[in-house]
Amino acid sequence: MSDSSFETGASPSEKPAAAESPHADLGDGSAGRGRELRRRRLWGAWHERRLEQTGSDLDPRFTFANERTFLAWNRTALALIAAGLAAAQFLKFNLHGLRLIIAVPLIVLGAVLALASYSHWEDSERAMRLRQPLRYSWMPRVLSGGIVAIALLGGILAIIDRLAH
C-alpha cells in the first residue's frame, strides 16, 4: 500500500476553491436558463475539486472500495423500491388499500437509503483523505429495523384481512 500509514499528526485542512464562485459569471438576467445551467456545472466542478483538495490522495483501492460500498447500498435501495412495486402489483388483499400500507413504506425506505448512501460515501471519502477514523453508519440498523417492521405489518394486515372477510 502506498499510502497506508494513518498519521494522526497530518491534519490537512480543507481548501475550498475560492477562485470560481457560482455567482462569478452572472450576466444581466436575460439568459436565465443558460446561466442556471452554467452555475450548476460550476457548482458540480467546484464540489468535486473541493473534495479532491481535502487531505491527501488515497491508495486507489480505498477509493474503489468506498465507491463499491456506495453502489451496493444504492442497489439495496433499488431492490427495496422494486419490492414495493412488486407488493403493489402482486399482493391481493380483500380490503382495498392495504397493499399500499406495505408498498409505500418499502419505497420510502429505499429512497431514504439512496440519499443516505451518498452522504455516507462522502463522509467516508473525506474521513479517509483526512486520515481520520471512519464513522459507524446508521444505515444497517435502519434497513434491518425497517424490513422487520414492514414484515410484521404485513403479517398483521394479512390476519386482519382474513378476519374481516
Binding site: S2, P60, F64, E67, L71, N74, I81, V104, V108, Y118
Partner: protein, 121 residues
C-alpha cells in the same frame, strides 16, 4: 489498456515500483459493481413500466421506460470507463461525486415514479 499496468500479471502481485500503485483487481470489481447497478436500474424500469401500463398510465410507462433505459445505459457506460480512465498504475483513482450524485438522483426519481404508479394501480 491493462488497468493494472502494462504487462502486469498474477506473478507481479507482490512487487511494484515505489511511488506506483500495486497491481490490483479493484478496478475490475468496481466495473462489475457498476454493471450490477445498471442491471438493477434496468430491472426497476421494467417493473415500473409494467405497473404503469397496468394502471393505464401509458404515457408515464413509455416515458419512464425510455428514461430508465437511458439511465441504465449511462450507468453501465460509466462503469466501463473505469478500465480506460481510472485506476491505471501510478495514477490516482479519482473519486466522482458528480457521477454518484446523478445515480442517487436517478434512484430518488425512480422512487417517486414508483410511488405515483403504486398509488394509481
Amino acid at each position: 489498456m491493462n488497468p493494472r499496468g502494462p504487462g502486469a500479471s498474477i506473478g507481479d502481485a507482490g512487487t511494484h515500483e515505489p511511488g506506483q500503485n500495486p497491481p490490483t483487481l479493484a478496478p475490475d470489481r468496481t466495473t462489475l459493481a457498476w454493471t450490477r447497478s445498471a442491471l438493477n436500474v434496468a430491472g426497476s424500469g421494467i417493473l415500473i413500466a409494467r405497473a404503469a401500463f397496468m394502471a393505464d398510465l401509458d404515457a408515464l410507462g413509455v416515458a419512464s421506460a425510455i428514461a430508465i433505459a437511458a439511465i441504465a445505459l449511462l450507468t453501465w457506460r460509466h462503469g466501463q470507463r473505469i478500465d480506460g480512465d481510472r485506476g491505471l498504475q501510478g495514477s490516482p483513482a479519482h473519486h466522482q461525486p458528480v457521477a454518484l450524485r446523478w445515480l442517487t438522483a436517478a434512484t430518488l426519481l425512480i422512487g417517486v415514479v414508483a410511488i405515483v404508479v403504486t398509488v394509481a394501480i
